[in-house]
Amino acid sequence: MSRSNEHIEKPEIAVKQPNPRLKSWKSVFNKLKKNKSAVVGGILIILLIIIALIGPYLTPYDPLYDQDVTNKLATPSSDHWFGTDNFGRDIFSRVIQGTGLTLMIGFFSILLGATAGVFLGIIAGYYGKRIDSIIMRFMDILLAFPSILLALTIVTVLGGSMVNVVIAVAVSSVPIFARIVRGSTLSVKKLEYIDAMRALGASDSRIIFKHILPNITSPIIVQATLSIATAILSAAGLSFLGLGAQPPTPEWGAMLSDGRNYLYNAPHVALFPGLAIVVAVLAFNMLGDGLRDAFDPKTRE
């Protein structure tokens, strides 16, 4: 390419630049690092992961089979930091033991659901017309469909494994992401810079994934980080169908709902797993807020 331009002299300085893509990720990362909320959230998540990985080896009691009915529903004490449940099992140990499983269910089901939902929603919103109608009506069906029936079918067809509870929760979150993404896509696709990309001959997939998607990340991040809480709760809600964590597996959501019988005389049974969920969701939300800011070019690095 030889279109040089002698008319305008080269400027004296030319800053040498590293790989641009790396650079932009680095900038996102730098912004994240400077964002208090993101840092706190990130640390919390790392902490939770550490607990999930090594916690089970350190629990003071056997979280599964160590039943002691004589010491049931004991309130928190130095022996049992979080008290005991109706079989006298140590709630602290159970919460620790349940960390990995619970986080995995929450995280992966949303990851899966969001991925599929975002994809469908963006396609529907971008192409509009018939494709939109087909996808969105299908989403309507999914939304209106009782999740219990869906879960039941999944147990029947696929069995009740851990992976399948993730699938079940994911499937019911797909239409939610699809609708949110579609709505935002509808307005972003009308912006002039999308026209500019079309004028350049950009393929649809490039426009969709490089130009529309990054501009609708914030509702996705919000919905995803929040959905982790609902995912944990609804996964627990499915365990009675034989889907997901089976007793005595200490999954937080299940522990929380087991505690409902004792809300009056032993509220701690439900309280601690509940708090654990809040902490986890809080962590993801703080990181999400940080991400949102980091992707926003207008915030200061």
């Binding site: 209106a144 307005s187 919905q223 609902t230 709760l233």
Partner: protein
């Protein structure tokens, strides 16, 4: 737009057919035989057989489906296998309860959520923003049954506080169960509204943050518009698309998913009906409720789509 609405209404037909086939096949796919559930344990084989025969469960599946659809098209949703009652009547009684519950809760959620979200956005990363976030996350992570039972404990049974506490020493203000009077409505609506409010608040916050830096917000400020109006009028309207979407989703979700709240407050709504009838393998009732729920969903989403147009005239739906 009229064409758009008409087209959407026409689209409900294939959707309903799709839903009914899906529900029908899934109900038959999962194990569990209505006759057996109805007969209960210990019933002799003969009795189960009789019931099966009566319910037409011995017909081939396509026949069963066709029979169902034929009468459904004529507006007859059949009768409950379990109680023999008319499905339309069973749904009808509960439909409005659920719709009312959903509407009130959504109103509450939108109200709280918008305000909290806007405050959060305009005071980004201050103590108040963090507080709102944490409260919201509690609201969200708290299962409905838990919040509901807490509310019942505090505001229906009442907690005894020392008598010097003004106003709050007898907090048995509301009724723990039922649906109808104001005192019955308050607690379930709060219970249901809280989770949605949390989602709406967070969505509002982020959506507002996306908008607040725009040039046209600067223009509004340059006009000397009051900050509140800048936020509530100029920014909010632009931020509203994802918010409207979640409101629609929440509302829709309430229509089908308020089971826990319904049972905690003994509200006789559709949520419980769906679950109960799925468990009893009461095919006609499941079909009927899912069909009605789908219709509602389509309607809600249609309204949401029309709202998009109102919010942003550039969006063309046709």
């Amino acid at each position: 737009m009229i064409q758009f609405i008409i087209r959407r209404i026409l689209q409900t037909i294939p959707v309903l057919i799709g839903v009914s086939i899906l529900v029908f096949s899934m109900m038959h796919l999962v194990p569990g035989d209505p006759a057996q559930v109805i007969a209960g344990e210990g019933a002799p084989q003969e009795q189960i057989e009789n019931i099966r025969e009566r319910l037409g469960l011995n017909d081939p599946l396509p026949t069963q489906y066709l029979n169902y659809v034929t009468s459904a098209v004529q507006g007859d949703l059949g009768t409950s296998m379990r109680s023999g009652r008319d499905v339309s009547a069973e749904i009808g009684a509960r439909f409005w309860v659920t719709v009312e519950l959903a509407i009130y809760s959504t109103i509450l959620a939108v109200f709280l959520g918008l305000i909290a979200g806007i405050i959060s956005a305009t005071r980004k990363y201050t103590a108040i923003d963090t507080t709102i976030m944490i409260v919201a996350l509690f609201g969200l992570s708290m299962p409905n049954f838990w919040l509901g039972l807490m509310l019942i404990q505090w505001f229906a049974i009442g907690i005894d506080l020392p008598s010097w506490v003004p106003f709050f020493n007898n907090t048995a203000w509301f009724s723990p169960s039922g649906w109808g009077s104001f005192s019955q409505i308050v607690l379930p609506v709060i219970t249901l509204g809280t989770g949605s409010a949390a989602i709406i608040a967070r969505m509002t916050r982020s959506s507002m943050l996306d908008v607040i830096g725009s040039d046209y917000i600067r223009t509004a400020r340059a006009k000397g518009v009051k900050e509140q109006i800048v936020i509530y009028r100029h920014a909010l309207k632009n931020a509203l698309i994802p918010i409207v979407t979640v409101v629609g989703l929440q509302f829709g979700g309430l229509l089908g998913g308020a089971v826990l709240t319904e049972s905690v407050f003994a509200v006789n709504g559709m949520g419980k009906l769906i679950i109960d009838s799925i468990q009893a393998r009461d095919f006609p009732v499941v079909q009927g409720t899912v069909l009605v729920a789908s219709l509602l969903f389509i309607l809600v989403n249609l309204i949401v789509d029309v709202a998009y147009r109102f919010l942003n005239k550039r969006i063309d739906l046709d």
